[in-house]
Amino acid sequence: MDLHDIALTVGNSGLGEWMRTNVRAMPIVEALHVIAAATVFGTVLVVDLRLLGLPDLKRTVTRVSGEMLHFTWAAFGLAVITGVMMFAANANTYYGNTAFRIKLLALAAAGANMALFHFGAFRTVAQWDSKQVSPRAAKVAAALSILLWVGVIFVARWIGFTKGYDFAVPDNIDLDLTIP
């Protein structure tokens, strides 16, 4: 079973069918996805700005990050659930969509950057927790994090303008409805 088979299984599942047959499902799920993505980006931004030494300098890095991370993870969970629901509605077209693939890569890069920071620079946080200036490695991770998450949002929005196909499709034709 390769990735394409998994995509087709998700698309043909009851969830996919439910997403396609309920007219209000897509707008509601998309709106929740925007709210989740906005919360992930905003909360990550608060931590990244602290690491870059912009605001919140009177509070320790761990205080700021500890407070924000609950919200980041909860919102990320909601984004994954709503993302899978949107994917299930049109799994086959998303599977072959370049913008969608780039988005997943950007997401993976943002996750890898976060992991590298967590298991790298963050291990010595006790030494610089209350300092206004973070080590260079932490600043680089924070700057990369902002760029990658903004990138994720940009490519994600781009998916909606590709109509799922990599060739030009006239605006008045919705190929999604003609291919099962």
Binding site: R24, P27, E30, A31, A38, I153
Partner: protein, 161 residues
């Protein structure tokens, strides 16, 4: 309003924006990034009023920390939103979600200002008002996405139905 929308959609400025293929996705992306900034700033102000987050800081400090971010991001949202309206006025002005969004947006801004007038003086801000503010902003984001689905969301109530 219908005539105005059609006139606006036919202006050279509107046509220029419509025909620049990358401009609308770019503006929408900037709009979403700024929604992240304003929403989390509002969320943290509300959580401070409810005593959930940033309780180590006085209300006035939390207000001073986030109010400038709210003002700047709302300005960028208004600007990108305005260009998006100019590019597709018929789509916006015929959507129930658009008008409802504008109404709740005005209430949402007034509601932050009301919270701010208490927070700035370190006076206890109203908790129900804080919860109401958060709900207003959630509704504004929801309605923004719903503009593209007016008939699906509003059914017979939609002007497009």
């Amino acid at each position: 309003m219908e005539h105005f929308a059609q006139w606006l959609q036919a202006t050279p400025l509107s046509i220029l924006i419509q025909s620049t293929s990358w401009l609308i996705p770019l503006l929408q992306s900037i709009h979403i990034v700024m929604i992240g900034v304003v929403f989390v700033a509002v969320l943290l102000l509300v959580l401070r009023v409810l005593g959930v987050a940033r309780t180590d800081e006085p209300e006035s400090v939390v207000w001073a920390r986030f109010a400038p971010w709210i003002k700047r991001s709302v300005s960028v949202l208004a600007l990108t939103g305005l260009v998006l309206i100019i590019s597709e006025p018929v789509r916006e002005f015929t959507a129930v979600s658009f008008w409802l969004k504008m109404l709740l947006l005005a209430l949402g801004i007034a509601s932050i200002a009301a919270l701010g007038s208490a927070l700035r003086r370190d006076a206890a801000a109203s908790r129900p008002l804080a919860v109401f503010t958060l709900l207003l902003w959630l509704a504004v984001i929801f309605l923004g996405r719903a503009i593209a689905y007016d008939v699906e969301v509003w059914g017979a109530l939609s002007f497009k139905a």
